[in-house]
């Protein structure tokens, strides 16, 4: 078991290193660099940048050095916790990202929680009562959830919330609190704003999860151990929840890792529409402006969070799956 853990940890470290290289390559991939994008942006406003100025800027950001050196310099600073300066905002990257990372996580985790509490019971019901009216309704709603674009739902909910419920919609804070330092009142304000974006973000995931849970459980329900549990004289609810549902949940434990980056990258448009101060829109702006250090930091953080998520799901699997715990493999 410890062996298994150690192996996973080493793998995680190697993966993180690989992610950093990949991040760097991806960010350098588009033609041109930040200075080109900067000049183009100024030119569209009618200003000009001289060739000397451009060279000076490139030198300042180290863009004139060989790529390998640039990577080494960047990594050298990153491991010391210095993520560099955002070229676009002209402020340290950590400051630009600031609370956004935690707010993103708060929304993502709420959305995830909502997804699971809605989808799992419906999925179980759909499988156990396959082809019943309830199953058809759940299936219909599920496909509608998959088909409706999230941003459209966001717009509709915002309109309805504002028009009929008089809610302050958009953003994660009321205007009074947006610039304030953290306090209990500000936290409460955040809590009041989270449900709407969480609902919107949970929608597509819920629909998908219902389908997956239903399919998994239908597979499990046909297995002989279910019949043998019934033959013991247990009640149907006990049988279903203890045996096949338990087995059908396993794949979810292994999918946790991919949910987080999916929720961040999948939420960019919704975040823009709802005006959420999350990482998604920031990443989009940074990529458009070729703001290397900002984009690099965000992509790197997402990658590392995926690795951490993978570790967590490995631990979870080990906990719920005796075959892995006792043999170190599935």
């Amino acid at each position: 078991m410890l062996n298994y853990l150690a192996r996973r940890l080493v793998l995680a470290l190697i993966t993180c290193a690989a992610i950093s290289v990949l991040t760097f390559v991806i960010i350098r991939l588009p033609p041109g660099d930040f200075v080109d994008a900067y000049i183009a942006n100024l030119a569209s406003n009618g200003s000009m940048v001289s060739a000397e100025q451009a060279v000076a800027m490139r030198h300042e950001y180290g863009l004139d050095r060989p790529v390998v050196v640039q990577y080494a310099l960047w990594m050298g600073r990153v491991v010391r916790g210095d993520f560099g300066v955002s070229m676009m905002w002209r402020r340290p990257v950590t400051e630009v990202i600031g609370d956004r990372l935690w707010l993103t996580m708060a929304i993502s985790v709420s959305a995830l929680f909502l997804t699971w509490t809605i989808a799992l019971p419906i999925g179980i019901y759909s499988a156990v009562r396959q082809y019943s009216i309830g199953d058809y309704i759940a299936t219909l709603l599920g496909f509608m959830g998959l088909a409706i674009p999230n941003f459209l739902l966001a717009l509709i909910l915002m309109y309805a919330g504002f028009r009929y419920l008089g809610l302050s919609v958009g953003g994660l804070f009321s205007s009074d609190y947006a610039q304030e330092a953290w306090s209990l009142a500000k936290f409460w304000d955040l809590m009041k704003h989270i449900p709407l974006p969480a609902c919107v973000l949970a929608l597509a995931g819920t629909a998908q999860l219902i389908r997956i849970m239903r399919a998994n459980l239908l597979d499990e329900l046909r297995k002989p151990y279910v019949v043998s549990a019934r033959a013991k004289g247990l009640s149907e609810l006990h049988v279903v929840l203890k045996y096949p549902v338990r087995a059908a949940l396993n794949p979810f434990a292994s999918s946790i890792a991919y949910l987080f980056p999916y929720l961040v990258s999948g939420s960019i448009i919704v975040s823009l529409v709802l005006g959420l101060p999350t990482v998604g829109p920031l990443l989009l702006q940074a990529l458009v402006a070729q703001d290397m250090f900002l984009a690099g930091t965000i992509v790197l953080l997402l990658g590392i969070m995926t690795v951490i998520g993978t570790l967590i799901s490995d631990l979870l699997l080990m906990w719920i799956e005796p075959r892995i715990r006792l043999r170190g493999r599935a």
């Binding site: 019949v227 043998s228 013991k232 004289g233 338990r246 719920i320 075959r323």
Partner: protein
């Protein structure tokens, strides 16, 4: 009338009827396009006796077992017949009329009737220890403390011949060999001391040596406890070794019923004869071809007209077997559902 009682040497005194199944019919699927998997099954389980049920794959052996316990998989459903527990006594219950999820039928499952499965690996959940799964079976029927149920489980495991049961109780099924797993399966079925046991091909998935050990164990438990055992198999060798009476099934019907010795000595139905011919014989000429039954089992949805066996039958009477069905074997009586067998009986009477 044909005499029916026949004792196997060594069998304990044959007791009364424990379970009488009459005209059991099961269909799969909705109204149109439904498949009749069981078409009027009648059989009796008696205390201290072993009823062997034999037939090719797909003839409905497992469906019979599940229908008796009311645990048919969707879309299967009972469409007729009775399952009488303790028939003829004041405690008689018709299981077929009970709510499949109700407390009354659940008390019978595991409590009065135990079920043993073919695949000991897949019939046990890999997510719980064997102890957990057996203790649960005990506590479903008896109010026992966890500690008492655990002690009872250790005793059960010892009884079915598992070495060091106090350690094995905390093992997961995948940590045990196939033979041990099947012993766990038997212990689980015996958890609440049922007086009826249904074993659905309990040894098919095991190697020959283990198979012999498991059969010996079943035989011992069945005799010691006077259990009425229904042993499902497609192996005539197992039937010869274990059964007192034999029901031969074909396509959802019982085509022949007889005490084991008479079935082997004078099989009445051509299908029974074909099954017996396909058993390898140690005295056979080396490298001689083993007889097989021609053709394949038809799907129950495409049941042939007349006698369902006629397309594969070597003794088919042209113009008769494909148009009219021979009368079924009368419940609880020796006989075969075949025109040839009827004429034999008539000759005997004349």
């Amino acid at each position: 009338m044909v005499e029916q009682v026949m004792t196997n040497p060594g069998a304990i005194e044959s007791g009364g009827h424990m379970l009488s199944v009459r005209d059991l019919a099961v269909e799969f699927g909705q109204d149109r396009g439904s498949v009749r998997a069981l078409d009027g099954i009648s059989l009796d389980l008696r205390a201290g006796r072993v009823l062997g049920v034999v037939g090719e794959s797909g003839c409905g052996k497992s469906v019979t077992a599940r229908a008796i316990l009311g645990i048919l998989d969707r879309p299967g459903r009972l469409v007729g017949g009775r399952v009488l527990l303790d028939p003829g006594t004041s405690a008689e219950q018709n299981l077929a009329a009970l709510d499949p999820n109700g407390a009354a039928l659940r008390a019978v499952r595991g409590g009065r009737i135990g079920l043993i499965f073919q695949e000991p690996m897949t019939a046990l959940s890999v997510h719980y220890t064997v102890g957990n799964q057996i203790i649960e079976a005990i506590r479903a029927h008896k109010t026992l403390s966890k500690a008492a149920a655990r002690a009872a489980t250790v005793e059960l495991l010892r009884e079915v011949g598992i070495p060091r049961p106090e350690l094995r109780i905390d093992a997961y099924p995948f940590q045990l060999s196939g033979g041990l797993r099947q012993r766990v399966g038997i212990a689980m079925a015996l958890a609440c001391a049922p007086d009826i046991l249904i074993a659905d091909e309990p040894t098919t998935a095991l190697d020959v040596t283990t198979q012999a050990q498991i059969l010996a164990l079943l035989r011992r438990l069945q005799r010691d406890k006077g259990i009425a055992l229904m042993l499902i198999t497609h192996d005539m060798g197992v039937i010869a070794q274990m059964a007192d009476d034999v029901a031969v099934m074909y396509l959802g019907r019982i085509v022949e019923f007889a005490p084991v010795r008479r079935l082997f000595a004078a099989p009445r139905h051509p299908y029974t004869r074909a099954l017996l011919r396909s058993v390898p014989d140690i005295r056979a000429v080396p490298r001689a071809r083993l007889a097989t039954i021609g053709g394949t089992v038809p799907h129950p949805g495409a049941r042939p007209t007349g006698c369902a066996f006629h397309p594969r039958c070597q003794e088919m009477i042209a113009g008769r077997c494909e148009t009219t069905a021979p009368s079924p074997v009368p419940a609880g009586l020796e006989g075969a559902s075949c025109f040839h067998a009827e004429s034999v009986v008539q000759e005997a009477v004349v």
